[in-house]
């Protein structure tokens, strides 16, 4: 059984300008010990999915479809059960390490907080465990006494990872854990996540816009566009042989080191991601698509099988692979 399964998840934010469909029918499953990457531009609904898993969306947001954590529907849980499940079944490494830590409390206390909320241990045991967690993420145990502003960005991100591990969750959702970190620290944090995942058999849902991060860390990859998954498959394959024109554009946007051709002709994608409250008709990508046909503006294509273990949502897929 999957530890985390999304079934046809729709999330619609309510705003003054009318409903904003941020996620429009996403199905995804995460097996034990799996790493799944979720990629896409800003505003495509990645972080909304992260928040939807633990029911952290703002009041009044409409959610349909199912989120199953270990087979249990998160949206059918009673408040008490929900609070118990949060962090013990699934934990989140938030983006923005500075802002996710309370500036007026010591970081150690904030890790202890998670432990004390969920397990009946003495404060002293919680403190010992906090020290162990910090050591595990590569920080000296005495950093627990520091305030967030006394730590560097990378150290704070490590604290957040330690915090995420505090209750031994089965699923770890990493929501852009390396944003705003420099490349060296980024590599360290990624290596740390991978190592922890291997050691503890965590299932990792990795959300980022940084594709290079995803291809190296994720076995499976899902590319999102305008609230939907437009292509999914094994990590390396998806970017080596993209089936969807959007993925192709994303992959092409990455310069190949040592290849002068890619350096001289930077390939980008023209246009902006669509406004979720006013999506184009048909395939939402057709306005920016280089290979769009006449029917693309009226025909909305669902995910189609492109190859074994691969699928993409594009009219061209069938033609190429029947």
């Amino acid at each position: 059984m999957s530890v985390l399964e999304l079934q046809d998840l729709h999330v619609t934010y309510r705003s003054e300008g009318g409903p904003v469909p941020a996620v429009r029918g996403v199905s995804l499953s995460l097996e034990r010990g799996d790493t799944v990457g979720l990629a896409g531009e800003s505003g495509c609904g990645k972080s909304t999915i992260a928040a939807a898993v633990l029911r952290l969306l703002p009041k009044g947001t409409e959610v349909s479809g199912k989120v199953l954590l270990d087979g249990e529907d998160v949206y059918a849980m009673k408040p008490g059960r929900l609070r118990a499940v949060r962090w013990t079944s699934a934990a989140i490494v938030f983006q923005g390490a500075l802002h996710s830590l309370n500036p007026v409390r010591r970081v150690g206390n904030q890790i202890e907080e998670a432990i004390l909320l969920h397990t009946a241990v003495s404060p002293r045991a919680a403190r010992t465990r906090t020290g162990e967690l910090l050591v595990k993420v590569g920080l000296p145990a005495d950093r627990a006494q520091r305030y967030p502003h006394q730590l560097s960005g990378g150290q704070r991100q490590r604290v957040l990872i330690a915090l995420a591990l505090a209750c031994d969750p089965k699923v770890l959702i990493a929501d852009e854990p390396t944003t705003a970190l420099d490349v060296m620290v980024q590599a360290q944090v990624l290596a740390l996540l991978e190592e922890l995942q291997r050691e503890q058999g965590l299932s990792l849902l990795f959300i980022t816009h940084d594709l290079s991060v995803l291809t190296t860390t994720c076995e499976r990859l899902a590319v999102m566009y305008a609230g939907r998954i437009v292509e999914q498959g094994p990590g390396r394959e998806v970017f080596a042989q993209p089936h969807h024109p959007y993925t192709r554009a994303l992959a092409a946007a990455f310069p190949t080191i040592g290849d002068p051709a890619s350096r001289m002709n930077p390939a980008g994608l023209a246009g902006d991601p669509p406004d979720p409250s006013a999506l184009p008709s048909g395939c939402p990508f057709h306005v920016r698509c280089a290979v769009a046909t006449a029917e693309c503006s009226s025909l909305d294509v669902g995910l189609r099988v492109a190859a074994p273990g691969r699928s993409a949502a594009c009219v061209h897929v069938e033609a190429a692979h029947v």
Binding site: R83, F94, H99, S100, L101, V104, R105, T128, Y147, H149
Partner: protein
């Protein structure tokens, strides 16, 4: 961790408390102005507390002062002279400190508790709770203070507790508004989301994340509310709304005015209570500012 494991949790907690107290004292000692204020405050508090032991309240009852000289200048016997009834001004100021400090602190506690409670509930829960609480707050905010205080004092009768009540009931709205606006911004912070993701309930989030973050604000508000309360008490006593059987600094000023001490240039009657008021109010304000800077880890120099 090994050396920590050997001490008991209680000893560890106390060691931490001692360390933080020592750090607090170190920061305070560097601020000479704040230290002076603290000394002044402690002095007044000690004087107010020991008054019943070092002097007799009956010594300046008018019925007992018939033999005293009237309008005596400050001297060895009467440290601050006597008034038109032959009562020692020094004794009156000493006993007046008790009333002024008590009213100042009691009214502030009432103000802060009420204001913080309303502010946090309104800001955190939002919606109709916010709307109802804020309309009540607005209602109290627009009531003109002095007429309201005079009416309340005359309806409830002239007693110390009623003065406390009047000051508390009229000054909590500004604290509530202040706290609410801060809470509105705090509840949207990412670490509040994180605390929710951790499985923390509302009480937990308010107690552990909202309250510690509004504490510096509440503290600043408190230290400003104490001098305002003292001044308000002085005002009400000066207007003759205080308890007539009690002596307070405002009351002394009122009697000095009635006895024409100002026009006849008997400075020892009106100057001491005035100076006492200024010193206490100023000391509270300066010390409060320093306290805020020390207690907020973000304002602390690194």
């Amino acid at each position: 961790m090994s050396d920590l494991a050997q001490v008991s949790p209680r000893a560890f907690r106390w060691a931490r408390r001692r360390a933080s107290a020592a750090g607090f004292w170190r920061s305070l000692r560097r601020d000479k102005l704040a230290l002076t204020s603290l000394v002044v405050l402690v002095l007044f508090v000690v004087l107010a507390v020991v008054a019943p032991w070092v002097s007799n309240r009956a010594d300046f009852n008018v019925i007992n002062t018939g033999d005293n000289p009237v309008w005596a200048k400050p001297s060895g016997q009467y440290l601050l002279g006597t008034d038109n009834y032959g009562r020692s001004v020094a004794l009156q100021v000493l006993w007046g400190a008790r009333v002024s400090l008590f009213v100042g602190v009691a009214a502030t506690v009432l103000t802060i508790v009420l204001g913080t409670l309303v502010g946090i509930s309104a800001g955190f829960f939002g919606g109709w709770i916010d709307a109802v609480l804020m309309r009540i707050t607005d209602w109290f905010l627009v009531i003109p203070f002095l007429p309201f205080a005079i009416v309340l004092a005359s309806v409830l009768g002239r007693s110390l507790w009623n003065i406390v009540f009047v000051i508390g009931i009229t000054s909590w709205p500004s604290t509530a508004r202040l706290v609410r606006s801060q809470v509105l911004s705090l509840r949207e912070r990412l670490y509040v989301d994180r605390a929710r993701a951790l499985g923390g309930g509302r009480a937990h989030i308010i107690g552990r994340h909202i309250l510690p973050n509004v504490t510096p604000l509440v503290l600043a508000s408190t230290t400003l509310a104490v001098p305002i309360s003292i001044l308000t008490e002085t005002t009400l006593a000066f207007l003759g709304l205080g308890d007539p059987t009690d002596v307070s600094w405002g009351g002394i000023l009122d009697q000095a005015r009635t006895a024409a001490a100002v026009t006849t240039n008997r400075w020892w009657y009106y100057l001491p209570p005035g100076v006492a008021i200024i010193m206490v109010v100023l000391a509270f304000t300066i010390f409060g500012r320093a306290l805020e800077a020390i207690l907020d880890p973000r304002l602390r120099d690194r």
